[in-house]
């Protein structure tokens, strides 16, 4: 009985000490990390719509996985809409993949960008590469389907990273669906 108390106390001390260390480190790093993430997103937005005069936030939305995401409207110098951008999530092999998808005014994909993920290095992290992201360029909502052969009208999966490829495609798809719903109906109401 005395033994079990000693062991318990020993473990408790170690766990509390680690908890305190982690809390201190987290408190000191979290604001900086959050700030860096915002800056990175702003940079990524500009990269997706380099011609836009401004890219104001247009609203928030929730993905089917319950993740909080945002959407933006790219404006030209005259204040007209140039395109739409949404942040979106896909559930990958070992993480939620955070992405941005930029649409042209005709609702085809202009470009995508992977912001954040923790997929397997060497396999899943190929989703960061331009050659994969370029496969989304010009695609419509209906063409967002993953297959294993090259096909100009579909998304070809990365070999060894089918799950990550599917997750990106699914996330992009929900993002495009959301943007279409918001902006197509708005346009109709305007008429």
């Amino acid at each position: 009985m005395k033994d079990i108390m000693k062991i318990t106390l020993n473990l408790v001390v170690i766990f509390v000490a680690s908890g305190v260390i982690l809390a201190v480190v987290f408190a000191n790093t979290a604001p900086r990390i959050a700030k860096i993430k915002v800056e990175e997103q702003e940079k990524a937005l500009k990269l997706l719509m380099p011609d836009a005069a401004s890219i104001p936030k247009a609203g928030d939305w929730t993905t089917p996985e319950g993740k909080h995401a945002e959407f933006f409207t790219a404006k030209d110098a005259q204040g007209g809409d140039m395109g739409y951008i949404a942040s979106t999530f896909g559930k990958g092999y070992s993480s939620y993949i955070k992405m941005l998808v930029a649409l042209n005014k005709d609702m085809t994909i202009k470009q995508i960008n992977v912001l954040d993920h923790a997929e397997t290095p060497g396999l899943g992290d190929e989703i960061e590469q331009a050659y994969f992201q370029d496969r989304f360029k010009g695609k419509t909502l209906e063409q967002l389907e993953v297959i294993k052969q090259p096909d100009p009208n579909k998304i070809e999966a990365i070999s060894g990273a089918t799950i990550s490829s599917r997750a990106v495609t699914k996330g992009i798809k929900t993002g495009v669906e959301m943007l279409k719903e918001r902006y197509m109906s708005n346009a109709n109401e305007g008429k």
Binding site: K6, L11, V25, A118, G160
Partner: protein
């Protein structure tokens, strides 16, 4: 082993990590992560650097607190020390060296589950003084880094025809070498090569490990 280890020099400890008990080629620990990240040289080297740092710090910490940690709960205590170091490294790099983090961040998180870290904490750091434990961690880390560099060099060259992402060979690469199965082939072949060199030139008996 520990009594004998205390007598040998610090240089000897580092050498032990690189040759005598090389984590990959001799002890055959942490093969799964070693295979997972070595499809490119960049991946192999970055993962090696991450393990080198975490292994050294964990060895140091375990050795400092070795008298305090109750032997009956040592494994959860070690795991927690490893997890704490990994998380502290992950958060600090993310906040203060974001460019480095962008390259190495994915690899750091995986280190929590590496058998080699726990194994050195249990086999060496828990039984030895602080300074030898530090050098043991350093040696094991360097051994791991070198092993991963060798494996990834071979795999990227043969499997992708490139090195550090730059195309070198223009012929069609042998794709199997960048797949996990090919990784095990490469580890096996290099392990055999190490044993052959050991037996042929140093008169050793060769070695093989358990594998985790």
């Amino acid at each position: 082993m520990s009594a004998q280890a205390e007598k040998i020099s610090y240089v000897g400890l580092i050498k032990n990590g690189i040759f005598g008990e090389n984590p990959i080629f001799r002890v055959a620990l942490s093969l799964c992560p070693a295979v997972a990240v070595t499809s490119t040289v960049k991946g192999g080297v970055l993962m090696g650097v991450g393990v080198l740092f975490v292994q050294t710090m964990v060895n140091l910490t375990v050795s400092i607190f070795r008298k305090f940690i109750n032997p009956r709960v040592r494994i959860p205590a070690y795991i927690l020390i490893i997890a704490t170091w990994v998380t502290v490294t992950d958060l600090s790099l993310n906040a203060f060296a974001h460019d480095v983090y962008k390259m190495i961040g994915l690899y750091i998180k995986l280190i929590v589950a590496f058998a080699i870290i726990l194994s050195r904490a249990e086999l060496f750091a828990s039984k030895n003084k602080v300074t030898p434990s530090f050098f043991d961690g350093l040696g094991m880390g360097i051994g791991f880094l070198l092993a991963l560099t060798f494996i990834s060099f071979f795999r990227e060259l043969v499997g992708k025809g490139s090195l550090f992402g730059h195309a070198i060979v223009s012929t069609k690469p042998v794709l199997i070498f960048i797949m996990p199965a090919g990784g095990f082939f490469v580890v096996g072949l290099l392990m055999g090569l190490f044993n052959w060199i050991d037996i042929k030139f140093f008169g050793g008996g060769g070695a093989s490990g358990g594998g985790h």
